[in-house]
């Protein structure tokens, strides 16, 4: 039997491809993309590597202290956002929200919090509470509330509607149903998402440090400003180890939860 003959590509396909190519050319120019500059700049790279190695392990103690601060920022940024994410998540989930007004407002708040990057929040809070880890914690609480609230709301919407219906017949209100049917059922997924966010937030708090919000990111920033690339490499090694450990920990706990 003959397979169906292939259709000739439509003119629309050509237009789409032409537009995509055009956008890439503009992007290439707009970002000053230049492989030549990278090749010509090899000397600068070589200088940099020469200064960076061997790493200065003398700052290892400072580095570890700061790494602990970074972990603390990620931790508090995650845990302090729990009550806000829970409240907004319940209000922004179609199956637990009391009415469509509340639903729309809660969803809007979450999407604003989510779309402002944590680095931008950090810059704002640095001006308010000064340089340091506290600004980082505040930044993460705000941004993470937006992300985690949304993820939790979606997890709630995916729960089995059966128990909700059963409690509604028993005369339970929406809030009572949320507490007694939805939250108990969705708790493992919520904890899994919480751990995932902790993992992400520890990594974010490194970047927040670069803009002055404390932790090891701040040390990396300092060492770049002082041209102490050998110290910077020590910090980066510590960062890689912390990130891998947190990632493993969170993956391990999530695996345990799934079984």
């Amino acid at each position: 039997m003959n397979p169906p003959t292939r259709k000739a590509p439509s003119p629309v396909a050509f237009i789409v491809i032409a537009v995509l190519v055009g956008v890439h050319v503009l992007a290439w120019q707009g970002t000053g993309f230049s492989p030549g500059a990278l090749v010509e700049g090899w000397r600068g790279m070589a200088d940099f590597l020469d200064q960076a190695f061997p790493p200065d392990l003398g700052v290892l103690g400072d580095s570890l202290d700061a790494a602990v601060i970074t972990l603390y920022i990620g931790l508090l940024g995650t845990t302090f956002s729990i009550p806000f994410a829970l409240l907004l998540g319940v209000l922004a989930s179609r199956v637990t929200t009391p009415n469509s007004w509340t639903y729309q407002i809660a969803r809007s708040i979450l999407s604003v919090l989510r779309s402002v990057p944590d680095v931008v929040f950090a810059l704002i809070f640095v001006t308010a509470v000064g340089l340091g880890p506290f600004a980082g914690v505040l930044a993460l609480v705000f941004h993470n509330t937006g992300v985690m609230g949304k993820l939790w709301a979606e997890a709630m919407e995916e729960t089995d509607p059966g128990p909700r219906e059963a409690l509604r017949v028993a005369g339970a209100s929406g809030a009572q149903t949320a507490v007694n049917a939805v939250l108990p059922a969705v708790l493992p997924q919520m904890v899994g998402l919480l751990l995932y966010r902790f993992d992400v937030n520890v990594r974010s708090s490194l970047v927040l440090g670069l803009v002055g919000a404390g932790g090891i990111g701040f040390l990396i920033n300092q060492s770049i400003k002082l041209f102490r690339f050998d110290q910077m490499v020590t910090h980066i090694i510590v960062v890689v180890i912390v990130v891998v450990l947190v990632d493993q920990f969170s993956a391990y706990v999530r695996r345990k939860l799934a079984t």
Partner: protein, 227 residues
Amino acid sequence: MGIQITGLRKSFAGKQVLAGVDLTVAPGEFVAVLGANGSGKSTVLRCAVGLQRPDSGTVDIDGGAAMVFQQIHLVGRRSALDNVCSGALGRLKLRQSLVFSRDIRREAMDCLDRVGLADRAGDRAGRLSGGQQQRVAIARALCQRAKVILADEPVSALDPSAAEQVVSLLASLAEEGLAVLAVLHQPELAQRFAHRIVGLNQGKVAFETTAAAMDTQAVNSLYEGAR
């Protein structure tokens, strides 16, 4: 008075599902509903408890109605006792429904005892067998203090011995004075345990009979009509 349903009509998207259903169950009575898939049995029950709004007709319920489902609908991760307590939510304030009070827990224990599962109160509902879960769901209905129990195919997902145990439990609750209306798919069980049997066919009551006078021919025709 139990439950009195009169002239219930319901259409979905222009398709008539209930064409005027009349049904009463008195306190102390166990009525079984038989009927092919799609004959409108669930719709009758769902309209009766307000999960669906009928196009016309009236439902009078004395003392509240509780519903028991084929898919049981317990929260599997919570204990049997907590699931039973949640039947009481309708008479609790929100702050009383975060952690159930001693009184509610005691009442729920009594309900579990009535279904013979007091010893499993602390077990996660999801860990229990299907028959045990359905009995927990019945205990939840009891904890609602409803005088009417509507059960939509409560034993269709259970093995024969668990099914018999659950139907016999429903019958004994009727003995104790509740009005029980149960959709069943096993005419033998209906005949053994129910007082009256109602045959539903294409959204209409095709026959209504005492269990003793049940006509096998009439029952078979319910299922043939649908083919």
